[in-house]
Symmetry: C2
Subunit: 196 residues, 2 copies
Amino acid sequence: MDVKTLCLGVLVLGDASGYEIKKHFEEGPFSHFHAAGFGSIYPALGTLLADGLVTCTEMAQEGRPDKKVYSLTEAGRRAFRRELHKAPSPDSYRSEAIFMMFFGDLLDPDHLGEVYQRHLAVHRAKVDCLSDPDCTVAGRDRKFVHGLGLAVSRAIVDYMENSRGVLFGAGDVVDEDAVDEGGGGERGAETPRAAE
Amino acid sequence: MDVKTLCLGVLVLGDASGYEIKKHFEEGPFSHFHAAGFGSIYPALGTLLADGLVTCTEMAQEGRPDKKVYSLTEAGRRAFRRELHKAPSPDSYRSEAIFMMFFGDLLDPDHLGEVYQRHLAVHRAKVDCLSDPDCTVAGRDRKFVHGLGLAVSRAIVDYMENSRGVLFGAGDVVDEDAVDEGGGGERGAETPRAAE
DNA sequence: CAGATATATATCGCTTCAATATATTTGTTG
DNA sequence: CAACAAATATATTGAAGCGATATATATCTG
């Protein structure tokens, strides 16, 4: 399944521009199980347009740059359903943070603590986001997928909180305040201190 | 973090050939959170060799084709530790199966049931594999990562079993024996013909 | 008023992936 | 025992995708 199909999937939910499609992968309901960057979305939309699977309406807006809003055609909808009926390729999960923790014995304890805290913070933020009532979705299948994402993130948070000692060794607990956010400045909300 | 670093990580665990490195990503402890194919492993090993981060011993074995066994050099070990101290890039999880279930309303009910059963079977197999005492690893950090993988797979299995009704709708239960897989076979099992 | 952030599209080069080619041995099955 | 499939082992190639970057403008923040 390529980026073309992913784009068709977003367009099933409603018309969108390339920029908005990317936001769907970053923030929307797709963010838990797929991703795509500009470098693949724009060429994909070009191909889809050439193949007649989408149409494009240029919206010259005052202020912001022109917006190219893409809509699914009937042929596009059919092509999407056809793709959905193929056999799914196996899941792939990649986590550099977990890779680093796996080699924790080679790591500077401070850095290990930072990687651990950051990873935990990311998944806590995900739980918060998915628990937010604003974020609820319509339709039984959407609800199912939403719940699955929440269950996984909760499992990660629970495990990491309860098995902290396995990673850091009992009696050798790293000072938690030392690993305060400071310079990183990405999406991670402030780190609520862990259970102790 | 590129494939070169991933290969160095495998070689930290012990000398290996390209073929064996790939098996580590398919079956070993890395399989839960990373992957790499031949098309990236062999070029990566070539670069590492040219950079002096690994050495290569050609083992002319009777029977099977020659085996090129790679070993980490001191420079390689240093380079690996340096890489490990960079900031990890965010996790990425991609699942075509979940994508399909998300659009379950557009799917043939048979195909939806198949995708669901297959996905559940894959994660049940993962739980079995990780619960197997043969599979236990040494070292507190390895144990931590191992436990994390198990926790996630368990959460997926539990959620999918308990929330079956959300996806399929109460009263419209799909026959379970139709797509049963048994415990043992993992990905390679025979493909029951899909719709089309 | 400066600088950062958000909206919006697009391209380039490098990395990575899936498929395929080659060669040999071991296991299976009719 | 011949025929075939599967495992062991390395390598290449073409296509796809990702990260970084360029461009342009508007709004928000200090």
